[in-house]
Subunit: 227 residues, 2 copies
């Protein structure tokens, strides 16, 4: 396994160093940031494989950082929080964090959770760029090009398209697409997917009435045309 780059964000130097020590013992490369803005900058420059993010940060707080990151990437995020009430935890998960650890925590436990995330990730490991027909997706840049021209996709559209392009030809039902677009299915109305597909077609298809890329599989879901 190639070494994983992990960004650890916390305003407490001792915490950062401790976590860094444990993660490096697992063979990870650790980047650090001590406030929200620095975290965003470091993320955009270095594209780490995972982020450990404290909720309470000077300046922009962790929840907000998480939302911003989710808008531009599906990098796994583990949130650190001192708060213990149920609703806080839910907010964190709704925001798109992949896991949640409360302070005080044992660094060993955090490292285990990092390993756990990487263990169930391999399906999502993939190339940095995928091309299919006139469509190019660049994952690190989170950009999509149609005939070389950039196309602006929303976060959800991007993730749905990514799911399609990673397994061309495979049929995804609506629940699967919701899972791909968010972490998990929170019983949202799956017809929302229809609208996202509609919008994706509008942005990508030469003739949205006769889709060439995103095909409807009646009674089953959608699939991306094979190469």
């Amino acid at each position: 396994m190639p070494a994983k780059k992990i960004l650890v964000v916390d305003d407490d130097v001792k915490t950062v160093e401790l976590v860094k020590l444990y993660l490096e013992r697992d063979g990870c490369t650790v980047l650090t940031a001590y406030d929200g803005l620095e975290a965003l900058r470091t993320f955009r420059e270095n594209h780490p494989h995972l982020i450990v993010l404290d909720v309470m940060l000077p300046g922009i707080n962790g929840v907000e950082i998480c939302r911003i990151l989710r808008g531009e990437s599906d990098v796994p995020i583990i949130m650190l929080t001192a708060r213990t009430r149920d609703e806080d935890k839910l907010t964190g998960l709704d925001t798109g964090a992949d896991d949640y650890v409360t302070k005080p925590f044992s660094p060993g436990e955090l490292a285990a959770r990092v390993r756990a995330i990487f263990r169930r990730l391999p399906a999502e490991r993939g190339p940095t760029e995928i091309t299919s027909g006139d469509i190019v997706m660049n994952f690190p840049k989170r950009e999509v090009y149609l005939k070389g021209k950039p196309v602006s996709l929303t976060a959800v559209e991007f993730k749905i398209l990514a799911a399609f392009l990673k397994e061309p030809g495979r049929v995804f039902d609506r629940v699967e697409l919701i899972e791909k677009a968010f972490g998990y299915d929170f019983e949202s109305y799956d017809r929302a997917i229809d609208v996202h597909v509609f919008n994706l077609r509008r942005k990508l298809e030469p003739d949205p009435k006769k889709p060439k890329y995103i095909r409807t599989v009646y009674g089953a879901g959608y699939k991306f045309a094979e190469a």
Copy 2:
């Protein structure tokens, strides 16, 4: 889909009941156990399809249970880990659980993770493709090929053909085929199957008048010719 049996193990009655409620709402059959020994006994007697297992249990703890279970089964396990600094849950994460949820958790989220595991499961287990004679079925792509050429089947036709190909030679009566084509139940006029078979033959048979694949078993039903 046949109802899934799920074993929920936790010493806290309220937690068990809450989880049970949510899982049953998803159509699962829920078994319960309140300590490790009871969990093992219930597992061995009932062979549930999935286990939700609390880490902290009286007697044998969850991690140990998980290890024992792993020794005798690859049943999917979701661990419930309470938030403490205790290092034993760390071991739990590495013991072979398929997923884990930290307490306090929302029962809806747990149910979503259960659904996610069941959805992933058949993809990892069952064959991705079945071939018989000139017919090839590809499940992830939900496509059928006849002599290498794609044949367009409706949802019901696809499911009926899948039932045939999964058990070549077995005779299915009309009620069985209806059950395969939908999730059990549904009292519909079973002569509709005749029409589906007719349409399948039209699409697949070299000579629909003299079926080579889908044979009529007079007075009983239909069967797919054996290899």
